[in-house]
Each structure stands twice: as structure tokens, then as C-alpha cells.
């Protein structure tokens, strides 16, 4: 426990130090931060806009914006939330310009039908299991890509970036209660989409 705290504190200090150094104009700190966040940020942007070329452009724009705004950033705040909020604003501006329809709110929440039959095993053991797991991921990936932007966003922030609800609320600039209900609705819509693909109305 002590080790974990020390480790997480160490991580926190490392991030803060890079941010502080970047505020002083240190190019190496910029390189460190880009390396640290490249996968998470790119994934988030790709989930938002769905087109790799657009995500790449937004990735670059986000870091340029970081350089531009870093002096107004309070280093005692959560850099993750600030970075993702910058990326989000750029992505939303982009979508508003290019595909305004993709920002539309979803239809009213639909109810549930049958439940999923069985729980999948936590580890894959055979080639068949691997193949099934890959298929499930493809299905879930495709179903997720068809969700409205605000739902894709909240799913990726919670499950892929492992952000807490409070952090998601910060990034998306909404109250915690809204972030929470958004997460619930996104899961319900995803499940509906997955179950609609299965002939028996269940997904596993």
C-alpha cells in the first residue's frame, strides 16, 4: 500500500515536473509529455472523430494549443483533465465545422430486453477463445463507433483512459451527475446495439 502510494505520488510529481518545466519553455519537457500522452490522446481523438486523418490533425493541433496555453494552466490542477478538455474543444469545433450532424443528441433512452446469458471467461486459453475474443472486441468496437459522440467519449474516458467520474465531468465540462447519467445511457445504448446484432437478442 505504502509502495503503491509512493509510486503514484512519484508518478504525480513526474507529471507535474514536466508541466512546470514546459511552462518555463523546456523543449525536453514537451517531448516527455507528448511521449507520455500520445497513445491516450490519439485514441481519445480517434474515438471522437472516427477518422484517422482527422484524429491526426487534431492531435497536432492539441499539442500546439498546449504550448500556446500552458502558461495559463495552474500546475496544481489535473493536467490530464486539462489536456483532454483542450482536445475535446478542438474536436467539437472540428465536428461542428465538418459534420455537425455527428454532434446530435441521441434519441430517448430505450429500455432493456433480455439479459446476456453467460459471463465470458476472464482469460482466453485456446485459439478458439482468442478468435471469439477478437470477434467480441470487433463487435463492441463497431457498436461503440456507431454511438453518438458524447456517448463514445464518455465510454473511452471511463473504460480506456480509466478516468474517474469527477475527471470525466471536468473534461466534458458538465456536472458530475450529468457525467454519470451519460455513462449509464452510453452503456445502455451500447448494450442495445450489441444485443440487436445477435439473433437471440443477447450478446456474449
Amino acid at each position: 500500500m505504502v509502495g503503491l502510494t509512493a509510486l503514484s505520488l512519484e508518478g504525480l510529481v513526474a507529471v507535474d515536473a514536466d508541466v512546470v518545466r514546459l511552462r518555463r519553455g523546456d523543449v525536453n519537457a514537451l517531448s516527455e509529455l507528448i511521449t507520455r500522452y500520445q497513445n491516450r490522446l490519439y485514441r481519445y481523438l480517434l474515438r471522437m472523430v472516427r477518422q484517422p486523418a482527422e484524429a491526426e490533425d487534431l492531435f497536432q493541433q492539441t499539442w500546439l494549443r498546449v504550448v500556446e496555453k500552458i502558461r495559463s494552466f495552474d500546475a496544481s490542477r489535473n493536467f490530464d483533465a486539462w489536456l483532454f478538455a483542450l482536445a475535446r474543444n478542438l474536436a467539437i469545433d472540428h465536428l461542428r465545422r465538418i459534420r455537425p450532424e455527428s454532434l446530435g443528441e441521441p434519441l430517448a433512452n430505450s429500455g432493456h430486453g433480455e439479459t446476456v446469458a453467460d459471463r465470458i471467461p476472464s482469460k482466453d486459453h485456446t485459439p478458439l477463445d482468442h478468435a471469439l475474443a477478437a470477434e467480441r472486441r470487433t463487435e463492441i468496437s463497431e457498436a461503440m463507433a456507431r454511438l453518438p459522440m458524447i456517448y463514445r467519449e464518455v465510454l473511452t474516458l471511463r473504460f480506456e483512459d480509466e478516468m474517474k467520474i469527477e475527471e470525466i465531468a471536468q473534461v466534458t465540462a458538465v456536472p458530475v451527475s450529468t457525467a454519470k447519467s451519460r455513462l449509464r445511457r452510453s452503456l445502455e445504448q451500447l448494450r442495445d446495439a450489441l444485443e440487436a446484432r445477435c439473433p437471440g437478442g443477447t450478446w456474449q
Binding site: W63, E68, M144, R158, L183, L190
Partner: protein
């Protein structure tokens, strides 16, 4: 809304580990006596589990390098702008200092040093003030023109 319905609404969030401590306790207590909700929670788990294991798309190394290069260039440009701003502030302060200091000096040279504590609107003083104002006006116009030009260049870049 019944207790059962309320708990049922929380099950998706329970699978997402997004409940507060109080809600977790509520759900756990309800699940002990409700098989339907237990099954429902089990139905959510594979979805949550698969979402956590989705493959992470990676940006190409070209993209990362290009981003770093552009961001570095921006950082350098900002540093230059900061330096220019500092130099400008220094030059302006120095110019003001010179202007203020030159006033008694001017009077001293023109043999009227004794009157500097009680300045009167003499012809000499008005000429000096007009000359100074003209100098500052010209400097201000030049600064605005330079700023407009720089902004235009930045936009083109």
C-alpha cells in the same frame, strides 16, 4: 420508483466501477436478496470487461515526430515573442525616462533651469512638449503597424 428499479438503474454504473461508496453498499445489500438484479449485473460485466480490453490505436511515429517538431517551433516562436516583449518594455521605459529627464536638462541648457519647479507655458516649453508628443505619436503608429504586420504574417504561417 421502487427500490428495485432504483438499484437496477445503478447496475450499469456498478459494472463500470462508477458508484459512490454509499451506492455500492446499497447495491450490494439489494443483490443479496434479488436474483434478477444479480443476473442483470452479471449481464453488464462482459460488456464492461470488453470495453476495458479494446485495443489501443497507436499514433504513427511520423505523427509524433511531426507534432513534436511543430510544437517545438511554436515554443521557440513564443520564446522569441517573450524576448521581444521584454526588450520593447525596456526600450519604452528607457524612452520615458529619457523624456522625463530631458525636460529639466532642456531647461538647464536653455538657461531657464531655475524655473523648472514652477513651469509656465512658455514658448520653449510648448515647443518641447509638442516635439515630445510628436515623437511618441510616431512611435505609437510604428508599433501598431508592426503589430498588424506580425499578425498578418502569423496568420499566413
Amino acid at each position: 420508483m421502487s427500490e428495485h428499479d432504483k438499484i437496477r438503474e445503478l447496475l450499469a454504473l456498478a459494472a463500470a466501477d462508477a458508484l459512490t461508496g454509499g451506492e455500492e453498499k446499497q447495491v450490494a445489500k439489494h443483490l443479496r436478496s434479488c436474483i434478477a438484479c444479480s443476473n442483470e449485473l452479471e449481464a453488464w460485466r462482459p460488456i464492461a470487461s470488453e470495453l476495458r480490453r479494446l485495443p489501443t490505436p497507436q499514433p504513427s511515429s511520423w505523427l509524433v515526430q511531426a507534432t513534436l517538431a511543430r510544437a517545438e517551433a511554436k515554443l521557440t516562436e513564443q520564446a522569441e515573442q517573450d524576448w521581444n516583449r521584454r526588450v520593447m518594455i525596456f526600450v519604452l521605459s528607457f524612452a520615458w525616462l529619457l523624456t522625463i529627464a530631458s525636460w529639466p536638462a532642456f531647461h538647464f541648457v536653455s538657461g531657464r533651469f531655475g524655473s523648472w519647479l514652477g513651469p509656465q507655458f512658455s514658448h520653449t516649453w510648448i515647443s518641447f512638449a509638442a516635439f515630445t508628443a510628436l515623437g511618441w505619436l510616431a512611435g505609437g503608429v510604428a508599433a501598431v503597424m508592426l503589430a498588424i504586420r506580425q499578425r498578418g504574417e502569423r496568420r499566413l504561417a
